[in-house]
């Protein structure tokens, strides 16, 4: 049976009826049309589906939408400020930390969550924070550099 759930996504309130067997990834993409959240593996390995739930980045493919009732969620669509990119997005673009782009939304969300709680992370801390987000293209070095550059710019 469908359940009525209420949650906030990118500062907007939603009240929707969902079947218990639908994941948060599915509901964000299919019901809310927020296509920035990707589904890669579906089993927690790749991090393409990363979203922030109540302040913490999680794999949305392993969260049932019904479990997210009452939560506050941020997807990649909620990261930019109007037409201007978030500093992390900007440095990713400038520094070649994006190639095919499939991992990018998840990477950016893991990186912004890190910088929120630790504005001056070490290289190791950056690598640790994005360790659940796989990238097939970049080799990670440019991503790590972009996050560090974002941290420097955000300090100013």
């Amino acid at each position: 049976m469908k359940k009525l759930i209420t949650f906030r996504v990118n500062d907007r309130e939603y009240e929707i009826a969902v079947a218990p067997n639908r994941t948060l990834t599915q509901v964000l993409r299919e019901d809310l049309n927020l296509l920035g959240t990707k589904e890669g593996c579906g089993v927690g390995d790749c991090g393409a589906c990363t979203v922030i739930v109540d302040g913490k980045p999680v794999n949305s493919c392993l969260v049932l939408a019904v479990q997210a009732d009452g939560s506050d969620i941020t997807t990649i669509e909620g990261v930019a400020r109007g037409d201007s990119l978030h500093t992390v997005q900007q440095t990713f673009v400038e520094m070649g930390a994006i190639q095919c782009g499939f991992c990018t939304p998840g990477m950016v969300l893991s990186a912004t969550s890190l910088l929120d709680k630790n504005p001056r992370p070490t290289e190791r801390e950056v690598r640790e924070a994005i360790s659940g987000n796989l990238c097939r293209c970049t080799g990670y070095q440019k991503i790590v550099e972009a996050v560090q550059e974002a941290s420097r710019r955000m300090k100013k």
Partner: protein, 298 residues
């Protein structure tokens, strides 16, 4: 895309209500905590519950409470909470270390300690550390409650003494005696998102800083169907004065205490070698902490 089969979902508001619900479901219901194991298994079709019972609205399962050096950890405390807790890090660094190596930050934010125990994976990270610390779990059932030592809780891969309808509510870690130290080392192919090829948790207690070993615990993981004690190695340490030679001897005995298999993550021979190395290393660190730290460093 891996789709989930159909099932019902309930959020009881109290533990008695949850227990009544589970007993009414007669084995067709399952508790869902973080879901990081359950949802994967349901997507793969290996478990097919008719109804998931979430304990999200049940109070009191998400706290870490400390008293006189002991800790009571609610079953729904997340692995990140444990990895980031100052209380855990100072009282039981071994537990903190095992938590910070589990999965990835994304997984740790959802995964719970209760789920890590009940799912009973042979390579799970928290059980070896908790067994070395002498932890007990509290199981609440419809009409009967019991406390069970984690040592003896597991009966095989994916199986344990918990009965359908029972809920694991709390993990109790007793205070460590003075002059106690420990260590946990997990060996994987990469730093994140890798279950252990071999993992070892050790704990030593001395009678005084430069004294003899009065308690030795060595728990080996991923080298048998459940986490196991290196029994002969533990025996060899008891009553002895710590030394590198003693630890090397114990480590070679530990190799015979396990029964590793060969799989895609590593060969049995390699695993035996690593048991030897990791037991030696964890004992050295445990000894170092035990001799240096008053009041328990494991």
């Amino acid at each position: 895309m891996l789709l989930l089969p159909k099932f019902d979902y309930e959020e009881p508001k109290s533990l008695p209500e949850a227990l009544a619900m589970l007993s009414e479901l007669r084995g067709k219901g399952r508790v869902i905590a973080g879901g990081t194991d359950l949802i994967v298994n349901m997507k793969k079709g290996t478990v097919k519950p008719a109804c998931l019972v979430s304990l999200k609205k049940v109070d009191g399962l998400r706290e870490i409470v400390g008293e006189n050096g002991a800790l009571a950890i609610g079953s729904h405390v997340t692995v990140s909470q444990i990895a980031e807790s100052d209380q855990v890090a100072s009282a039981f660094p071994v537990l903190a270390r095992s938590a910070s190596g589990l999965g990835s930050p994304l997984i740790r934010n959802r995964a719970t300690i209760g789920g890590n125990i009940v799912t009973a994976r042979p390579a799970a990270d928290l059980p070896p550390a908790l067994i070395a610390l002498g932890a007990q779990v509290e199981l609440r059932g419809n009409g009967k409650d019991r406390k069970v030592p984690l040592d003896g809780f597991f009966t095989g891969p994916g199986s344990s003494v918990i009965e359908p309808g029972e809920v694991l509510t709390e993990i109790i870690v007793p205070a460590a005696p003075p002059f106690t130290g420990g260590d946990y080392i997990k060996l994987g192919h990469r730093a994140a998102l890798e279950i252990a090829i071999v993992a070892v948790a050790s704990r030593l207690t001395l009678d005084k800083p430069d004294g003899v070993i009065v308690d030795a615990r060595i728990v080996l993981s991923s080298v048998a169907p459940t986490a196991v004690h290196a029994v002969s190695a533990e025996k060899a340490l008891m009553g002895q004065r710590p030394s590198e030679e003693l630890f090397a001897g114990a480590a070679s005995l530990a190799v015979a205490d396990c029964s590793p298999i060969t799989d895609i993550r590593g060969g049995a021979e390699y695993r035996r070698d690593m048991v030897n190395t990791l037991v030696k290393r964890t004992l050295l660190k445990a000894y170092h902490d035990a001799a240096g730290v008053k009041g328990g460093g494991a």
